[in-house]
């Protein structure tokens, strides 16, 4: 399993009912079901990924995350996972509002556009960053809404989410621990995984 998915799995309470938006081939949901007894549903729009998920016994629903999350009822899940997906949606704020409506609790994993390498590339070379984490050229990328961790945390606040946990990831997707975690995260982390909870309104 991808290292960042292991970090996500580490934030899931056993037995919780999980909706995975942008579930891909269902690796995470299969793991959560087998290891933590979590029933779950995935949502994606890629045909090959959906077939792979079905083959491994994961329930997946083909839909467009930008327009069809209304299919899921209010409060019908304990947790919504949005892993490496938010930056590919047309309206990340609307997706997060749907997370609040469907579960009130989410795990959001994103790449950090504020990483020093990306900043340096833009400053020195004057080019949009292309790297292991952001491998696509600007004109042909699914990642249409890149943000820095600071930007994302502002949005969480604006939408009424509290950040319960934040795990910073290095370039390999491994959790950063110890001293390195204390640096300026927005400059040093390649990516981050957030456990967020909607404030009761």
């Amino acid at each position: 399993m991808r290292p960042d998915l292991e970090v996500v799995a580490g934030l899931v309470e056993p037995g919780s009912r999980v909706l995975d938006l942008g579930c891909g081939d269902g690796t995470l949901l299969a793991f959560l079901h087998a290891e933590l007894g979590c029933p779950g549903t995935g949502a994606d729009s890629d045909a090959a990924s959906l077939r792979a998920a079905i083959r491994r016994g994961v329930s997946v629903i083909e839909l467009d995350l930008d327009s069809q999350l209304g299919e899921f009822a209010d409060g019908s899940y304990d947790l919504v996972v949005v892993s490496q997906t938010l930056q590919a949606t047309r309206h990340p704020d609307v997706v997060l509002e749907e997370v609040a409506r469907i579960a009130g609790r989410g795990i959001v994993s994103v790449p950090n556009f504020g990483l020093w390498k990306h900043r340096a590339g833009l400053l020195v070379r004057g080019r949009m960053p292309v790297s292991a984490e952001l491998p696509h050229p600007w004109y042909d990328t699914p990642n249409i809404h890149l943000a820095t961790l600071a930007d994302l945390e502002d949005l969480f606040g604006d939408l009424g989410f509290e950040v319960r946990r934040r795990v910073l990831l290095d370039a390999r997707g491994q959790a950063v621990s110890g001293l390195r975690e204390r640096g300026p995260a927005n400059l040093t982390a390649s990516a981050a995984v957030y456990l967020i909870e909607a404030r009761p309104s």
Binding site: A47, R51, G57, S76
Partner: protein
């Protein structure tokens, strides 16, 4: 169509008798119900590899065939196909109310000694399931590995899971609906009007009179119209365009001139050889009234069985060019099941051929069903049989539409 010399592949069994009659959902009783069905493959020792194929409105039990006698679902059912007759014991019965060997309105009414005609009771999709459950018991199958069907066949798969979730491990409902729209019912109404207003219908008693041919004109028109709803506008445009049939210049008369007219004429005429007008009325009417989620607590038994780990896992699929049962119909099924916490997967397959796509050789569609069925077999049959092929993760995924 089987020709005269070919052996009849159908088996027959009487499942309900005067001592043990069939009580229909509407309350009527049938004292004698015979079912004609076909099977392929071998039932394994613990009867865990049985797959029931449900046919659609005008289908029959011949789902899988040979070069001489092709089946209507050879793309899906056969050796090495997604419903693999080398691995599974596959059953396809003819529907109650039909005209292909199972009791229907043209059968003899034991009370009168003549055909039922319109005295045959109205049927619900639930009645088809009741009869097929009895057939499974007759065959020694307590729990099906899967029920699979398209259109009315998919509606039966849904009803199976709602009525008997402990008897079916997996259900595949393709291009189906949980409730016909006004437009769907409207098409149905015109088809029935064509049949019933044909003077040769004679209130359904045409069947008693050898000198009356029956409402052949009406049935052909019903079929012509229905066939329009099975194809997408794009499929028709690609297949026929504005081509003129067997001529370079249009004849500019009222007879068949355009290729599409010739096609519909052919569809209407060939239908007469294999279908009965009364069966068309009864089976099409069963679709109109189908609305299983409207019943109070409709999903309760299914949800409870799923929670207990002995329920039904669903695959629902639609086609983006299908306007007869458009994707919204399938989404509604998925929404209701998902909210009842029934495990359900959904695919909207991109295919150009409209409702008929479910019968055609389309890579993404067949690969999706194969993935679901392989997983079902692995979970159910796998340990005991060890017969599940490995490495068949996605053999058809890359193939383009070949039909």
């Amino acid at each position: 169509m089987p020709d005269q010399e070919s052996p009849d592949p159908r088996q027959r069994v009487v499942l309900f008798t005067p001592d043990d009659p069939l009580t229909l959902d509407g309350g009527s009783r049938l004292d004698h119900v015979e079912v004609a069905f076909e099977t392929w493959g071998t039932l394994n020792a613990d009867a865990s590899n049985a797959v029931l194929v449900c046919h659609a409105l005008t289908g029959d039990s011949h789902a899988s065939g040979t070069a001489d006698q092709p089946g209507w679902w050879d793309t899906m059912v056969g050796p090495g196909r997604p419903v693999d007759t080398d691995r599974f014991f596959v059953i396809c019965p003819n529907l109650l109310g039909g005209c292909r060997g199972t009791t229907g309105p043209t059968s003899i009414n034991p009370a009168t000694g003549s055909p039922y005609a319109l005295d045959f009771p109205l049927l619900e999709v639930r009645d088809f399931v009741t009869v097929h459950r009895r057939l499974m018991r007759h065959l020694g199958i307590e729990r099906l590995l899967a029920v699979i069907g398209g259109s009315l066949g998919g509606m039966q798969a849904l009803q199976w899971a709602l009525d008997a979730p402990h008897e079916v491990g997996n259900a595949v409902a393709i291009a189906a609906s949980s409730r016909l729209s006004a437009q769907n019912i409207a098409f149905s109404a015109v088809a029935r009007a064509a049949i019933m207003r044909d003077p040769e219908f004679a209130d359904g008693r045409y069947i008693d009179h050898p000198d009356i041919e029956g409402p052949r004109t009406g049935l052909a028109i019903a079929r012509m119209m229905a066939h329009i709803t099975y194809l997408s506008e794009q499929a028709m445009a690609e297949k026929f365009g504005r081509r003129i049939q067997d001529a370079d210049e249009p004849r500019r008369r009222f007879g068949v001139d355009f290729a599409v007219e010739s096609y519909l004429e052919h569809q209407g005429q060939t239908f007469l050889d294999r279908f009965d007008p009364l069966s068309y009325l009864y089976l099409s009417r069963s679709l109109d009234y189908f609305d299983p989620f409207a019943e109070p607590g409709a999903t309760d038994a299914l949800a409870a069985a799923c929670a207990a780990g002995r329920g039904t896992t669903f695959l629902v699929a639609s086609f983006d060019s299908d306007w007869r049962f458009a994707t919204a119909h399938s989404r509604r099924i998925v929404r209701v099941l998902e909210r009842a916490r029934v495990p359900v997967s959904f695919r909207e397959i991109s295919a150009p051929h409209g409702h008929d796509s479910f019968l055609l050789d389309h890579g993404d569609y067949l690969a999706t069903v194969r993935a679901f069925v392989d997983r079902a077999a692995e979970d159910t049959v796998g340990a005991a049989e060890g017969a599940v092929r490995s490495g068949s993760a996605d053999p058809e995924g890359g193939r383009s539409d070949a039909t």
